[in-house]
């Protein structure tokens, strides 16, 4: 793992046991402005730290010792979620099918056209970028939610389930005005501009909205 990987920038990991092809891929991707990390084996990849930014894996289906498919399975066991673009040679159709079934983003038959390679890598990086953005948003939301008091959380959940302030007050055994204050606090802390935002956030956080309010009308 090279030290000169800029944090946050996209990184393409190349895992191929062929040193020459590895260097060629690194050079081509480098000429297009991608950062690359070249590894000779799956083990070498696992030993390197994953960067913070979006990344993807360019993986040879046939590796010395363990095959690319084994490595894909190993990543799954380790819960390393990384878009994989497989590179295949002649007569590897069964392996390619297995790879795609196991969740590979794309595959390239060697020797590949450069545009196909660049497109596949760009698509894989975009997918990882999206995945990372949504993961980051979820993290932020959870952090904000963690900043609420227990009472605010309770009232946020009940409000998101569609109960009127009066109903909530009755439900939790307090005055309507207190409910209003907690509700306003929750919206401010959660950075929800509208009530609809708050409802979406509650859903994204997985609050059990429906259970709090035995179904009366359709949610937004």
């Amino acid at each position: 793992m090279s030290a000169n990987v800029h944090q946050g920038e996209p990184v393409v990991f190349i895992v191929d046991d062929d040193a020459s092809l590895r260097a060629a891929l690194a050079s081509l991707l480098g000429s297009c402005g991608f950062q690359t990390v070249a590894c000779a084996s799956g083990a070498e990849f696992l030993a390197s730290a994953l960067p913070d930014g979006p990344c993807c894996l360019l993986l040879d289906v046939r590796l010395q010792g363990a095959s690319g498919l084994d490595f894909q399975a190993e990543l799954g066991r380790r819960r390393i979620d990384l878009p994989i673009v497989f590179m295949t040679g002649h007569g590897d159709i069964p392996m390619t099918v297995r790879a795609m079934k196991a969740g590979a983003v794309d595959f390239l038959a060697k020797p590949f056209r450069e545009q196909d390679l660049l497109d596949a890598v760009a698509a894989a990086l975009a997918r990882d970028g999206e995945r990372r953005a949504s993961a980051r948003a979820a993290d932020e939301l959870a952090a904000r939610y963690a900043g609420l008091t227990p009472r605010e959380r309770e009232i946020m959940g009940l409000a998101a389930s569609g109960l009127m302030n009066k109903q909530i007050a009755g439900h939790v055994g307090t005055s309507e005005i207190t409910v209003k204050i907690h509700r306003a606090n929750a919206m401010r802390k959660m950075q929800a501009k509208t009530f609809a935002d708050l409802v979406r956030m509650a859903e994204a956080l997985g609050l059990d909205v429906a259970q709090a309010r035995p179904g009366s009308y359709t949610r937004v």
């Binding site: 020459s20 260097a23 050079s27 081509l28 000429s31 010792g65 002649h90 007569g91 060697k110 450069e114």
Partner: protein, 497 residues
């Protein structure tokens, strides 16, 4: 004995002579021992009748002598009586001597007859076995040879062999061999041997084998006796066998290549992919607003290296698919094994098998055909691979290994292929190298049989090694090449091979 027309005439002459002597003896009064002339009759009889006839003639002559005496003389003690006795004695002695002479002649005739028979016998045997005998003197080369030798050399039976004739018939490429043998004979070596070719005036080539031994040494003049065999037929048969074996080996080699096709395609594809990718990268580095010449140059360097690599792979495959005469060249076994390992590495790794090379350094060269020996090694490796595969078809089984090792064992280089497969039973180990014997469901049983024929053609041996623990080990040994002067010098200085 002999019933020729002349013998009847002679018999009549003998009878007439006998009657004439009897008439003179009995009816004239000559006072001499006429009867002694019967001796002539007996002697003549030897050339007319057999021994029995001569004996009868002798008895008849003696009887006639006594009869003539009885007719003309009556007194017992007298000089005619004495003459009669002298005559009878002379006839008896002549008869005995004539009979003895005839017996000796018969024996001689019989001996010469049997000699003639044995000569004819020898000549026909020589002809059938295409083996001739000869005698020659060295130095000088005065020669004598049997009829078959003349036939082998393609000259008339009456032609006297000379060293010039022998030279003229010897194949031009083998003259040096002939000269060497002549030089050895001139030194009086006890035994000389030569396998060489003759070229007939019509261009036909004969393969002959000559063996000669020193028979006598007359103060520096050596006399050799020897045999010369026409081994063309045997040579031809060996050549045909060799060609057939080579064809079979080639066929199986191509089959093996077919089995390796996917791996080989990958081996070729890999550098091609690298070349294409490097080419694209190079263009992109050059097409930048500020061209990056260093990166472009690096990409070009890699392109060149990959081109070499692709052509190396193709060269190896072409060599293996080559259909040509087997060669005998000094080979570095370790280098050969590394090349071979490169060909099958990919296939083995696809089967999750790790190939380990344990090569003893500094092995002496062996003499042989690189392609054929490579074939043996590939066959053994593929065999080991299939043995492992058969044991565990499971895709995710633990890693298996094959160890390919070399070592020097006396005057031989031993090459061993050990696998971690299920191993062999003793029965299997014993029959492994037989043609059409296979332990595989879809095997032909030719691979290892061909390995054996190749190894044996190289003067080596192949075997399955029994050992404790799992896995099978197949090993073959090849004799080291005869050391050249240079090798000997290397050995003295301890320089690595």
């Amino acid at each position: 004995m002999f019933q020729s027309p002349g013998s009847n005439l002679r018999a009549a002459g003998v009878v007439l002579l006998t009657l004439a002597i009897f008439a003179v003896d009995a009816f004239t009064a000559l006072d001499i021992a006429i009867a002694v002339l019967y001796v002539v009759v007996v002697l003549c009889a030897t050339s007319v009748w057999s021994r029995r006839g001569v004996l009868l003639t002798g008895v008849a002559c003696a009887t006639l002598t006594v009869g003539a005496f009885a007719l003309t003389h009556h007194d017992v003690v007298s000089s005619p009586m004495a003459r009669c006795l002298v005559s009878v004695a002379a006839i008896a002695i002549t008869t005995v001597l004539a009979l003895a002479g005839m017996a000796a002649t018969d024996a001689l005739r019989q001996r010469s007859e049997s000699l003639r028979l044995s000569e004819a016998f020898l000549a026909s045997t020589q002809r059938i076995s295409r083996t001739s005998s000869f005698r020659f003197q060295a130095p000088g080369g005065a020669m004598h040879w049997s009829e078959e030798a003349a036939r082998i050399y393609g000259v008339g039976l009456d032609v006297t062999p000379t060293p010039a004739l022998v030279r003229e018939r010897t194949h031009p490429d083998d003259l040096a061999l002939l000269d060497d043998v002549i030089a050895r004979a001139d030194r009086g070596e006890a035994a000389i041997e030569l396998r060489h070719r003759l070229r007939m005036p019509d261009g036909a080539v004969k393969h002959v084998h000559m063996i000669a031994r020193l028979a006598a040494d007359h103060d520096g003049r050596f006399e050799y006796l020897g045999a010369l065999m026409d081994v063309s037929a045997a040579h031809e048969a060996a050549e045909t066998l060799h060609r057939t074996q080579a064809q079979l080996a080639h066929a199986t080699r191509v089959t093996t290549l077919g089995e390796l096709a996917a791996s080989i395609a990958h081996e070729v594809n890999q550098p091609l992919a690298a070349v294409a990718t490097n080419g694209n990268a190079c263009l992109r580095w050059l097409n930048r607003p500020e061209p990056d010449l260093l990166e472009a140059r690096l990409a070009l360097d890699r392109i060149l290296a990959d081109t070499c690599r692709a052509s190396e792979v193709i060269k190896r495959i072409r060599a293996l698919a080559r259909k040509g005469e087997a060669q005998r060249l000094p080979l570095d076994v370790n280098l050969l094994l590394r090349d071979t390992a490169a060909l099958v590495q990919r296939e083995l790794s696809n089967h999750r098998i790790v190939l380990e090379l344990h090569l003893a350094p500094g092995l002496p060269p062996v003499e042989g055909d690189a392609v054929q020996l490579q074939q043996v090694v590939i066959n053994l490796l593929m065999n080991a691979m299939q043995a492992i595969d058969g044991a565990a078809a499971d895709w995710l089984r633990r890693q298996q290994r094959i160890v390919l090792s070399t070592r020097l064992d006396g005057g031989q280089v031993e090459i061993e292929v050990a696998d971690s497969g299920p191993g062999l039973s003793e029965l299997q180990a014993g029959r492994l190298f037989e043609a059409f014997y296979t332990t595989k469901a879809d095997g032909m049983g030719m691979g290892l049989a061909i390995c054996r024929s190749i190894v044996e053609a190289h003067g080596g041996s192949i075997r399955a090694v029994a050992h404790a623990g799992p896995g099978a080990t197949l090993a073959f040994a090849l004799p080291c090449a005869a050391p050249t002067a240079k090798d000997a010098a290397d050995a003295v200085t301890g320089a690595p091979a």
